[in-house]
């Protein structure tokens, strides 16, 4: 099937070359970072994680969101999702790959990464994150490839893949729960020290990931003969609506606990992000952009008229995706570090090389995604109209 990724038209190749070129820019700046050090980024002693770890966190959510298609299709036999489910699985592969690349980009000594395996440390959440993320990547590669392969041959998928599909469901929850535990168990980081962190992560993941999937499905439908189905897209739209509601509700709970208790350690990061603290309000416009986009997109998703209209649905999904990207890919990380343990405000803003490395990783992710989708679409175009068994 892999050959399908290399049998594209002119537009396909221009797109692939474009992504490749952007990725190369990222690689160039990564090599600079590799020799000069992480000092090339905007990070410092007080905000020691930044854009890279933010992207990692956000993309773990995107990866986990495939489960929102897998559950209805495989557990509830919801046939409407028969075509779209492969798009979710392949999106997960691309997202996990980006996660791994962002972790590598953030490491001070990337050549020593195997130390995590050579000196396994079960008390470190990062050790578990390493395990669950690699496991999830293997699961999705295997499941996506085997089911699509059977589909190509017009036969039902082999029986042995079923248990792996069922395993991928709790596994998806685990990757985002474990990622939340990276933050939620640290004493002295009040912004992250919240029991609802994992639940918030899952809610935002199940909103952001499927929203991206709706956008991708629309694009796929426009540029190929493969149609994931209007009904499927509408169903995903409802999932996004519920998840986004849960996400905003959970964020509200955080606000309540912080501000009603009035404990300074808990309120300070929120003040820094949404109002400004000690004269520093750099992130305030960004966080309010996220808030407004979240509110408007939720309204779009709640009202049937705007949700059922595919044009406004896709606008809602774009707004929602940007909103969550700001909230989780940036605000969540920086908010945990400001103010610092001395209650001093030291701000952070990514540098140009850091931003270009980030864009480069996204390009690699989209490159993988484009090739995988090309394969899926080519197979599905051939088997169009045939009922997919599972």
């Amino acid at each position: 099937m892999l050959e399908k990724a290399f049998e594209g038209g002119r537009k396909y190749w221009i797109w692939i070359l474009f992504l490749g070129a952007v990725a190369l820019v990222g690689v160039y700046y990564y090599l600079q970072q590799f020799t000069y050090g992480l000092g090339i980024t905007g990070m410092h002693r007080d905000v020691s994680w930044g854009l890279y770890i933010g992207q990692f966190t956000f993309l773990v959510g995107v990866a986990a969101s495939a489960v929102m298609l897998v559950i209805p299709f495989y557990l509830h036999d919801y046939k409407t999702f028969s075509k779209i489910v492969i798009l979710g699985e392949f999106l997960a592969i691309s997202a996990v790959t980006m996660c791994i690349l962002f972790i590598m980009a953030d490491m001070g000594q990337p050549m020593r990464v195997m130390n995590v395996v050579l000196h396994p440390t079960p008390n470190s959440v990062m050790f578990w994150d390493f395990l669950v993320l690699s496991g999830y990547l293997v699961l999705n590669v295997l499941i996506g490839w085997v089911t699509l392969g059977s589909d190509k041959k017009g036969v039902p998928p082999p029986k042995w893949i079923k248990p792996l599909i069922y395993l991928s469901i709790p596994w998806a929850f685990s990757i985002h729960t474990v990622t939340a535990f990276l933050y939620a168990g640290l004493p002295g980081r009040h912004f992250w020290l919240s029991a609802i962190m994992a639940a918030r992560f899952l809610a935002s993941a199940f909103a952001g990931g499927p929203a991206l999937l709706i956008i991708l499905s629309m694009i796929v439908r426009n540029i190929s003969k493969f149609d994931p189905g209007k009904e499927a897209i509408q169903a995903v739209g409802k999932i996004v609506a519920y998840a986004m509601f849960a996400n905003i509700f959970f964020l509200g709970l955080e606000f309540f606990t912080a501000f009603y208790s009035s404990i300074p350690g808990h309120t300070s990061p929120f003040k820094y992000l949404y109002m400004g603290l000690e004269g520093h309000s750099e992130l305030v416009p960004l966080m309010w952009t996220s808030t407004v986009l979240a509110a408007v997109s939720l309204l779009f998703l709640i009202f049937p008229a705007t949700r059922k209209n595919e044009k406004s649905l896709v606008i809602a999904c774009v707004m929602l995706f940007i909103s969550l990207w700001i909230d989780k890919g940036f605000g969540l990380i920086v908010g945990g570090f400001v103010p610092n343990p001395f209650e001093e405000v030291h701000t952070y803003w990514p540098t140009m090389p850091e931003a270009l490395i980030t864009v480069g990783v996204w390009s690699i992710g989209f490159l993988i995604l484009s090739m995988l989708y090309k394969i899926a679409v080519s197979v599905r175009e051939q088997t169009a109209g045939v009922e997919i068994e599972h």
């Binding site: 000069y36 050090g37 992480l38 410092h44 002693r45 001070g108 990062m126 390493f130 030291h346």
Partner: protein, 276 residues
């Protein structure tokens, strides 16, 4: 086994690419040869030992700026702590690495100040460093055991194993850890470099080690030696006869953020003055 330096470097080079550096280094180290066990190697008889090292900081003994500077400098020179400067000579805050430093009461003990407190009390200088916690979050989160507890209570770290993930920096509630954002060797003055202590590579985290290497050769920590008399008292808090223990038992001391359950082992003496 016999191998010359050239062969060794060749194998070490290849295996470190494969991430096996540590095991090769172990295999060729004298104490691993021919079944020699670490217990058969005699420890230094002069080494200072303790069940749990701890420090009492008596700020009343630090009277001048010079007292602070001298103490901090002793540590930073002993350990080749990089000194990043801006072109105008001020400290480069972006790349700053510090093991022991001066901050204000208000910053060291956030939330303890009150609004009626006079400015000079809020701004009262305090020395801060790694707390060598009994239950250190940095050790808990490290994915490679690069930071770990020694049996003597010191929170130690292996800068050759550190992968630079900076999880420990997020976990430390005391801001005690620094990362080498750029090549630290460029910020070590060759004239004052301590050849007996290694310099660091780029991309690893470092912090105070309670001068583990000095204790092993029978010397007190560098800061303790350089501080004004009675300013820093260092000893075994588990030993009922130690000076440190006597102070923490009989005097009013406070610790930074004890409510987090980390068990910090730096005690700040309140009132101070006449204990020693």
């Amino acid at each position: 086994m016999s191998m010359d330096r050239r062969q060794f470097l060749k194998i070490a080079g290849i295996s470190s690419i494969l991430g096996l550096g540590a095991s090769v280094a172990n295999a060729t180290h004298p104490i691993w040869v021919k079944g020699l066990d670490p217990s058969q190697v005699e420890p230094n008889k002069d080494a200072l030992n303790a069940k749990k090292w701890a420090m009492v900081v008596d700020m009343s003994k630090f009277k001048t700026d010079e007292d602070f500077k001298k103490t901090i400098k002793a540590c930073h020179l002993t350990h080749n702590v990089p000194d990043f400067r801006n072109p105008d000579g001020t400290v480069n805050k972006k790349f700053e690495v510090k093991w022991i430093w001066q901050t204000s009461y208000e910053r060291a003990f956030p939330g303890q100040e009150n609004r009626y407190m006079e400015e000079h009390l809020k701004d009262m200088p305090f020395l801060v460093l790694c707390n060598h916690c009994e239950n250190p979050p940095c050790v808990r989160v490290c994915p490679t055991k690069a930071t770990f507890k020694l049996p003597n209570g010191i929170t130690m770290q292996d800068m050759h194993r550190c992968i630079g993930c900076r999880f420990c920096m997020a976990a430390c509630p005391y801001g005690a850890r620094s990362f080498n954002w750029i090549d630290p060797r460029k910020a070590v003055n060759p004239e004052t470099e301590n050849k007996e202590y290694p310099t660091r590579t780029i991309g690893v985290v470092e912090k105070c080690t309670f001068c583990t290497e000095r204790l092993q050769s029978g010397k007190m920590p560098a800061c303790v030696e350089a501080a004004p008399k009675g300013g820093l008292t260092f000893g075994d808090v588990e030993d009922p006869n130690s000076e440190v223990r006597k102070i923490v038992t009989t005097k009013l001391t406070i610790r930074r953020k004890p409510e987090l359950g980390t068990g910090p082992q730096i005690y700040y003496l309140i009132g101070g003055g006449d204990h020693a």
